[in-house]
Assembly symmetry: C2
Homo-oligomer: 146 residues x 2
DNA sequence: GTGGTAGATAGGATGTATTCCTATAAAGGA
DNA sequence: TCCTTTATAGGAATACATCCTATCTACCAC
C-alpha cells in the first residue's frame, strides 16, 4: 500500500505544484476532511503554526487548488467559500450563524444533474449547477422562538 | 378601471413609502418589467434623467423595495443583483458576459418548492431556495469556439 | 394654505474582501 | 552547487457596500 501517494506532498507533486511549506500547511488543513472555509479562516488557522504566511499567498494557493480540482468555490452572503468536498452536492446555509452544511443530493451518479436541464439552456454550455437552501438552522431557529 | 392603483405613485403609497422623485424614478425604471440590475446600473440609468441622485439613495431605495416584496435580491460573481421578477424561478448566468436569464421553473404552483426538501433540512426553517446554472450563453459559447 | 415633524437625501467617510504589483526568496532540476 | 523558474510577503490599489450626519422635503394636522 503506497500511502505516499495520498500525502499532501505527493498530492501537490501530482498536480505539478512545487512543494512549499505554505502550500503544505494549507493542504494539510483544508484537504484533510470535507469542509467549507473562507480565505480569512484559512489565513487565521495557518498563522497559528506559520505566522509569516500572507493573505496573498492564501488566496493564490486556494485559487491553484481550485484550478487543480482539489477545491470548489461558491459564494454565500457575499463571501467566497472554498469547499474541499468536490463531489457534486448541494448546500444549506443559516442566515443567522452562517453555518453551511452539505446535503446528500439525490443524484445516482456524480455526473448526473440534480435536476433536469431546463429547456431554455439547450444552447448553453453549462459548467456547474448550484443549489442552496437559505434559512435558519435548528439551533438558531430555537433561539428565534424565545 | 382604476389604473391609478398600478401607477408607481400608487405602488409606493400602498407600501407606506413616501413618494419622492428619487423613488419614483427608481420604481419606474426597475419595476416596469422583469429585469436583473445592480445598484450601479440603476444609479447610472437614473442619473440620465436625475443627475443628482446619490448611490446611497439607490441602495436605500432598492433595499426598501426588497423589504416590501417588490424586488428579490441574489448574488452572482460577488455582485448583488436585484430582480423585479418576484415569482419563484431559477437563473442561468453566463460566466463570460455576465448575462442572467430567468428560467421557467417546473413548479406547478408558486409556493411549491422546485425540488423536494432534503431529509436533512427537516429541522430547518427554510426561507428560500436558490438554483443557478453557470456556464456559457449561446453567443459566448460560439465565440469561444473560434 | 401654513407649520411642524418624521422620514429621506446627498455627500463623504468608513470598512472590508479581493486583486494587483514588485522586490526578494526559495524550490527543484542540471 | 548553481541557475532558472516560480512562489512569497507586503503593501498598494480597487471595488462594493454600509455608515454617518447635516440638510432637505413629503405630507399630515391645523
Ligand atoms: Mn459542500
Ligand atoms: Mn430573475
Ligand atoms: Zn444558525
Ligand atoms: Zn455570455
Amino acid at each position: 500500500m503506497k500511502t505516499s501517494n495520498h500525502s499532501p506532498t505527493a498530492l501537490l507533486r501530482a498536480h505539478g505544484l512545487r512543494v512549499t511549506p505554505q502550500r503544505l500547511a494549507v493542504a494539510e488543513y483544508v484537504l484533510r476532511k470535507p469542509m467549507h472555509v473562507t480565505a480569512r479562516i484559512v489565513h487565521e488557522k495557518i498563522r497559528e503554526s506559520y505566522p509569516a504566511i500572507s493573505m496573498n499567498t492564501v488566496y493564490l494557493t486556494l485559487g491553484q487548488f481550485e484550478r487543480c480540482g482539489l477545491l470548489n468555490r461558491f459564494e454565500v452572503h457575499g463571501n467566497i467559500v472554498f469547499d474541499s468536498n468536490t463531489s457534486p452536492h448541494d448546500h444549506a446555509c443559516c442566515n443567522r450563524c452562517g453555518a453551511i452544511i452539505d446535503l446528500d443530493s439525490p443524484r445516482s451518479e456524480p455526473s448526473e444533474q440534480a435536476a433536469p436541464l431546463p429547456e431554455q439552456l439547450r444552447q448553453w454550455q453549462i459548467k456547474a449547477e448550484r443549489r442552496i437552501w437559505m434559512g435558519l438552522c435548528p439551533a438558531c431557529n430555537a433561539e428565534s422562538v424565545l
